[in-house]
């Protein structure tokens, strides 16, 4: 079930809220109600995905209790848990990608498995790994089955994050004050949900039709139209992802649960370091806490060069996490190299670039990187980038501009122009929706 669909907005969410607020009146358990509703939410898409998430929850709960029982093998159990979670993820998400590449490199003919791809597997895998590490680090001292079940399956954050922490979520679920209707949280939650809905249904969906047509007809693009589709995708992607997260945040807040911030006006960033502190923030935190920091601290000598190699490695993983495709790996490598360059400049070149120029460079870097994210073929990404920097097209400005069918379709669609311009203004000039939550009154 998707947040912006009628079944969710008209039936599922109101039913959840009614059951949640009135559970205590009927002596029902709020956590149990949320678990049942979340299972229904998850199964709505495809009930055959359910066994995978249930297995993952059961095994991670068992392992966490094993770690908590203070045996001598805590480290081995943690390692086993991490490997098992990664194996589940690789089996369902990456196995065909691995087979395809093995076939290509070694000229083999291994059949693809075509396994179903369970929804949200990337999110619940990362969340489970973080949970096991926190148990091992004694940041979580006891775990109840019902609590862990709810932590993983809580429907607002299940499908597209944010990636939440057990110690952030469980006190909120257990706080009895949160089981009753709160007018302020309901009002702000509703507003954030509505903002997310508009971001997704108006902005992202309007731009996506234009972007899809462009990416299907790459050969027809010229200098201006290739810039136009790359920029349109950059805004579409932000409004789509952050809109969905807003709807998750709003839905959870209506049940008095505050999800962590995942976007902080990322297109206002003035460096790549700044961008990753504003874009998919909970993923950045996961990567820092569970890959970057552990590897760096394990080294005998912590220095700039080592940390930059680790940064590159982390971003290759981050790229691949987005999907089984070399395009995502390139996207990760692109950002890894961007971060390395950024750190190098910050540490060794003391020349202060004016803020506007920093923003301009950063924004264009992000825009170009997203071409790899959107293209289905690597070669298509390079064709678009080549067209974006083709001076010949720029020189032939007049003829190309008015002859290009794709460009004409853009300027002939007033709704699209308004949508595009509003996207630019909102992303670059407005406060983000999470600020509403942070306001005291």
């Amino acid at each position: 079930m998707l947040f912006y669909t009628l079944p969710y907005l008209a039936f599922f969410l109101p039913l959840c809220l009614i059951l949640f607020y009135f559970a205590k009146s009927f002596k029902l358990d709020n956590k149990l109600i949320l678990i049942i509703l979340s299972l229904f939410f998850y199964s709505w898409w495809n009930i055959y995905y359910l066994p995978v998430i249930l297995f993952s929850i059961a095994i991670n709960y068992y392992l966490s209790n094993k770690i908590l029982s203070k045996t001598n093998n805590q480290k081995k159990i943690l390692l086993f848990g991490i490997i098992l979670n990664i194996l589940i993820l690789v089996t369902f998400k990456y196995i065909d990608f691995i087979i395809e590449n093995l076939n290509l490199i070694f000229l083999l003919n291994i059949q693809l498995l075509n396994l179903p791809f369970p929804l949200a597997i990337s999110f619940f895998t990362f969340q489970s790994i973080a949970f096991l590490v926190n148990v091992y680090d004694e940041e979580i001292l006891s775990v109840k089955a019902k609590d862990f079940f709810l932590f993983i399956i809580f429907f607002p954050q299940l499908i597209a994050g944010p990636i939440v922490k057990y110690n952030h979520m469980m006190p909120q679920f257990s706080n009895k004050k949160n089981w009753f209707f709160n007018e302020r949280n309901f009002r702000i939650g509703l507003i954030v949900l509505f903002i997310g809905f508009i971001k997704k249904v108006y902005f992202a969906d309007s731009l996506s039709q234009f972007v899809d047509t462009g990416y299907e007809n790459i050969s027809e693009l010229d200098f201006f139209s290739s810039w136009l589709i790359s920029l349109s995708f950059t805004f579409q992607f932000y409004f789509d992802f952050s809109g969905y997260v807003d709807m998750a945040t709003g839905s959870a807040l209506m049940m008095n649960i505050i999800l962590p911030q995942n976007f902080n006006s990322p297109y206002k960033s003035t460096s790549i370091i700044d961008f990753w502190q504003r874009w998919h923030m909970t993923l950045t935190q996961f990567l820092t806490n569970h890959i970057y920091n552990p590897i760096l601290r394990s080294l005998k000598k912590i220095n700039f060069i080592n940390s930059m190699f680790i940064t590159l490695f982390v971003f290759l993983i981050a790229g691949l996490w987005h999907g089984p495709s070399w395009n995502f790996v390139i996207f990760g490598a692109f950002h890894g190299l961007g971060l390395v360059t950024n750190h190098f400049y910050k540490n060794y070149i003391k020349f202060q670039i004016p803020k506007f120029i920093s923003w301009f460079i950063t924004f264009n870097f992000i825009n170009i990187s997203f071409i790899f994210f959107r293209s289905e073929e690597i070669s298509n990404s390079f064709i678009i980038i080549k067209k974006m920097f083709n001076i010949k097209h720029l020189i032939n400005f007049d003829s190309n501009l008015f002859n290009n069918e794709y460009f004409l379709s853009f300027i002939g669609d007033l709704n699209l122009i308004i949508c595009f311009l509003l996207s630019v203004i909102i992303s670059l000039c407005f406060q983000n929706s999470y600020k509403l939550l942070l306001k005291k009154k």
């Binding site: 926190n134 680090d137 940041e139 820092t288 806490n289 920091n293 601290r297 912590i302």
Partner: protein
């Protein structure tokens, strides 16, 4: 926490970031100085762990983003 230990913390931060220790006090935040970056943070935490003999988990490392937070954590 006694003043000597706070001085030790400030000394470790100063050593690993290159920030003059006179510019660091209890109110100093990681974001106040660009030199106090993610690499410096890991170095600080590793050295604090050894000096104060207290385990700092990798998740905690990212949360201890101010002198006051570090003091509070080490005081627990």
């Amino acid at each position: 926490m006694n003043e000597d230990k706070i001085k030790d913390i400030i000394k470790i931060i100063s050593k690993n970031t290159g920030i003059d220790k006179d510019l660091i006090d209890k109110k100093t935040l990681m974001t106040d100085f660009p030199q106090w970056d993610s690499i410096a943070q890991v170095k600080i935490m590793v050295e604090l762990e050894a000096k104060m003999k207290k385990k700092i988990s990798t998740s905690k490392m990212s949360e201890l983003k101010s002198v006051l937070n570090i003091i509070k954590f080490l005081d627990k």
